[in-house]
Amino acid sequence: MTTESTQAGAGADPYKQHYEPGTHPDLPPPFATSGPLLWLRENLFSSPANIVMSLVSLFLLYKILPGVIDWAVLDAAFTGADRNECRAKASGACWAFISERLRLFTFGFYPVEERWRVWLAFVLLVVVVVAVLWEKCPFRKPLLWFGIVYPLVAGWLLVGGMGLTPVSTDKFGGIMLTLVIGVTGIAFSLPIGIVLALGRQSNLPIIKYSCVGFIEFIRGVPLITLLFVASTMLSYFLPPGTSFDLLLRVLIMVTLFSAAYMAEVIRGGLQAIPKGQIEAADAMGLKYWPSMRLIVLPQALKISIPGIVNTFIGLFKDTTLVIIIGLLDPLGIGRASLADTKWNGLTYEVYLFVALFFFVACFAMARYSLYLENKLHTGHKR
């Protein structure tokens, strides 16, 4: 900027004014090169295509969001004794239904006076899960040992016997049933899956092909056909006159089902381990199991963590299928509750409530897996 030009353009324009050194007034920053405006320009309006996309997105939000919020929150009724009372109060959702049935959604038909056992089992589960997930947890070692026997303890607490009042498993229902199936499946499918994956990699043809056959059979048929067999036809395959608990049969089927998927995930991990590792272990004189336990599996499992957690999430979501064979998970409880004349037609409330439950649980698992994945990247990637 030269003096001539500023003098030539003399006028009100403060940018072109000549100032003595040190007397220059503060000027506003140039337009949209920093702050929220820059962010908007770069992220939403950088090119014509971008502008169109932003406008379409905004339009979608404008179309969907207000309606949903109105229905679910602003226009919703949170109290009321039946559907008509809800409708009299507000035109939106009737959450009173959910809050009235919340206990049913949580415990199913578990006897009221015994529900402390469910709570206790749940609290213990939280303790074990925290110990497993959080490395700096106090008393981690003993808690992990407790985690191994936890399924037995929880089973005893829930089913009863040995000092506790027995509770028949057909009283199980709701979120509790989902957790029972989900946690059992998760706890047992991982070890079975590891064994199957190792079997599939085995040099012994009979072991290998029986594992392949099992895995491919399970992965080739829908879970509901297996559940149907477990629920209605399994007795044909047992010695005459015997039968065992329906829930137990479902647990076995669900566990075997996810074990087959787990095996494939772990096989992926195993295949990623360079052969040199196994050869090195052989050279060290390690036999099959020690070399697997000390060398191969730790590395393979670490690589497979995202896949393993995805299988867990899938298993957890698949627990809803038990309604097809008549067990009452939250979705089943919801649908059974809809039969009540008092609450006729509140389908969306039920579905959204159940969706929320599954979303929270599965989303949390997915996030944890992401965190773990980042943490365990011990320098193999940039």
Binding site: G241, L248, G345
Partner: protein, 338 residues
């Protein structure tokens, strides 16, 4: 082979192991009767908010439990859809079935069921919204019709429309509850099932008067309980518990007077035989002498069960009609206990 047997035995330690011999022994050993019922049909079998089952069919289960185990509450209800009920019974999941089930020849002979005496004479009907202005089932050309899959109604419907040469769109549905939801949302114009089921379903509507049952009854649906083939003693127990409840109404035995009448032999030999004060009819079917008394004490006679769950004073408001005693103009006619 031995190892497998051992492993199987280990698994069985979880399970209730019992002898092949007979269902009666199994039930006694278990201390509980597994009774296959509907997933929910108000008036016939439906759980309330606490999961306690009640209804017409449920009371027959309870009567059998009372006769066999001495306690009407020792029943485990196995809810089933139309599709799963026979599989559940045949594979041994249930000991007996009371699920508004029609007796047919193929079910008896081919599905290997033994039917108990009919406890409700029914027929398939149609329900439509009044607003449609339909007067007869023959006006239903082109209509969408909700049916429960795995029932005889599905087959009757196909036959009826075929014979009358009219077209329709079947909308297959698993349970009565979903059928109701779809019907009310007008996914289908018509809902068809047993007339009693229609009445029960309509009673649970918010505005029952907006819907009418069409005059046609297109089939015979003798509804009754059933057990597996191959255990005659168990079939006899089911058969005679049902007969006893029907005969009790005929003989004037009720829930209230049964204890009094059963104390000692009275003047009426029929009553005496039934309540075990004369003869030894219980041991003929492997039970004790008071089997019928306990059943009646627990649930009352046939008429009482009917009135309590589906009779004119209930929301379902079914008339006795065909189900009146033969003396009162119905066709309910129990074989005599003698």
């Amino acid at each position: 082979m031995k190892a497998i047997k051992f492993a199987a035995a280990a698994v069985m330690s979880f399970a209730a192991v019992s002898a092949q011999a007979g269902t009666l022994d199994d039930v006694k050993a278990r201390g509980e009767l597994n009774c296959v019922v509907s997933t929910g049909l108000v008036g016939f079998a439906a759980p309330d908010a606490d999961g306690k089952w009640a209804g017409f069919d449920v009371d027959f289960c309870r009567a059998v439990a009372a006769a066999v185990l001495g306690d009407a509450d020792k029943v485990k209800f196995v809810p089933s859809t139309g599709k799963t009920r026979f599989t559940l019974l045949n594979s041994g999941e249930g000991d007996i079935l009371f699920r508004n089930t029609t007796e047919t020849m193929s079910r008896d002979a081919d599905l290997k069921l033994s039917f108990l005496p009919v406890n409700y004479y029914d027929g398939q009907g149609f329900m439509v919204p009044k607003a449609l202005g339909v007067a007869s089932a023959k006006d239903l050309d082109g209509a969408s019709i909700c049916i429960q899959t795995g029932t005889t109604t599905e087959l009757n419907l196909a036959d009826f429309f075929r014979i009358n040469n009219i077209s329709y769109e079947p909308v297959p549905i698993e349970t009565n509850e979903e059928a109701k939801t779809n019907y009310l949302a007008e996914r289908c114009d018509v809902y068809t099932t047993d007339a009693s089921g229609l009445a029960a379903t309509r009673a649970a509507f918010e505005a029952p008067d907006d819907h009418v049952l069409l005059p046609e009854i297109i089939s015979k649906e003798p509804l009754g309980g059933a057990v597996r083939h191959g255990d005659d003693q168990w079939a006899d127990i089911g058969k005679w518990v049902v007969n006893a409840l029907i005969s009790a109404e005929e003989a004037g035995i009720t829930m209230d007077n049964v204890a009094e009448l059963g104390k000692a032999a009275g003047d009426n030999p029929t009553v005496n035989r039934m309540l075990g004060t004369e003869g030894d009819f219980g041991s003929m079917i492997g039970l004790d002498a008071q089997w019928a008394m306990r059943a009646i004490m627990a649930v009352g006679n046939y008429g009482e069960i009917f009135d309590r769950h589906i009779g004119p004073d209930t929301a379902i408001a079914l008339q006795r009609g065909l189900n009146a005693q033969w003396k009162d103009g119905g066709i309910l006619y129990s074989a005599p206990i003698r």
